[in-house]
Point group: C2
Chain length 215, copies 2
């Protein structure tokens, strides 16, 4: 397991602004839990591809899922990849254009996905995914069928080879610019849920309280 200050591998080591990096497993897990999407980069048929997909975590692994027929999922288990999860936390507005920045948390993971085999294991994993999307919803749904489980591929990737890079706080301007007459500060950003849009045919009309814990 990585220690907070030592990268688990050379390719994981943050070289640009290393003071913004950590390799602490708990901090990395927290970002995976807070991110709805991951971007997966992999080489296939002579090109690099980057595909966004929903992501969740169980213990020391990051999980994704998709249709069994998916070309992406088949390519992923065949080679190493890089998975990046990014949360944009704010715009940092400085007195000079040069010192503008963004506040963010970004995890980069290297490794190879492995298939989660077995109906029971897939069932438990998909339940954990739903628990991230909407806690408690799984048991209220029409139960998942064996046919559906068989049509779904679940893959997992170890978080052992991962780094977290983050920036927070206000602008860092040059000393001689501090009195420049322009507003300086942070404009916080986060993913927010709007008013639920009930399906016209939903027999239950009252939406659950907004479950979103992300961002």
């Amino acid at each position: 397991m990585a220690t907070p200050n030592a990268a688990p591998s050379e390719r994981t080591r943050v070289r640009r602004l290393p003071e913004r990096a950590t390799y602490d497993a708990e901090a990395i897990a927290a970002v995976v839990d807070a991110a709805p999407l991951a971007h997966i980069g992999f080489a296939h048929e002579g090109s690099v591809h980057v595909i966004p997909t929903a992501v969740w975590r169980e213990g020391g692994h990051l999980y994704i899922h998709g249709a069994k027929a998916s070309r992406l999922l088949k390519a992923l288990v065949a080679s190493e990849c890089c998975v990046t999860l990014s949360l944009l936390d704010g715009l940092v507005m400085a007195r000079s254009a040069f010192h503008h920045s963004m506040n963010y948390r970004s995890v980069v993971v290297y490794g190879r996905f492995e298939t989660v085999d077995g109906t029971a294991a897939k069932f438990r994993s998909l339940q954990a995914f739903m628990e991230k999307l909407s806690p408690g919803r799984w048991n209220a749904l029409r139960p998942v069928s064996d046919k559906e489980l068989n049509a779904t591929t679940v893959l997992r990737l170890s978080l052992a080879e991962a780094s977290l890079k983050a920036r927070s706080g206000g602008p860092k301007d040059d000393d001689e610019d501090m009195a420049w007459p322009v507003w300086a500060g942070v404009l916080p950003l986060s993913l927010q849920a709007g008013a639920p849009q009930t399906d016209p045919q939903s027999v239950v009309r009252e939406a659950p309280s907004v479950p979103l814990r992300w961002g």
Copy 2:
């Protein structure tokens, strides 16, 4: 220029759920304009890497910037890459776990970045970037210096080889599940700005009206 229904290249063609795809330049440009971040995938030193970075658009090109010393920027002009921009628009809550989905807009671009050369060209590009972040702010800032321009690399990538994949609308359940007693609908999601956090030393205390036009 791509037509809405024909992919500009084989690797750009969306194969999974192609009915969600378009290759229309205007629709692609709108997603680039709405996305604060891009994820850039490229191969370097034997691994694929995926790096998040701020992005803006001018005409038919997508732009990024960074420190002149950046290893990432040097690697990018040396090889082809894939740039993906994803906007998560909502959680689609169905009656069965299997039919849950996400509403999203996602652009995938293939190609090679080129350097924007010349102080004047870089100046204009960075001004366009600021205009995306905060319209009108550029002229209020301490003017950019030649030293700062020289320390900044600006790269651009043609949007000619790009695709857009999107999902919108409510859940699509199996006919026999329509009366299942669980709430079904869409939980819309968007990136929202919170209350501005004025820097303690900002001589201007009133934040500009929230400029965010993204998401």
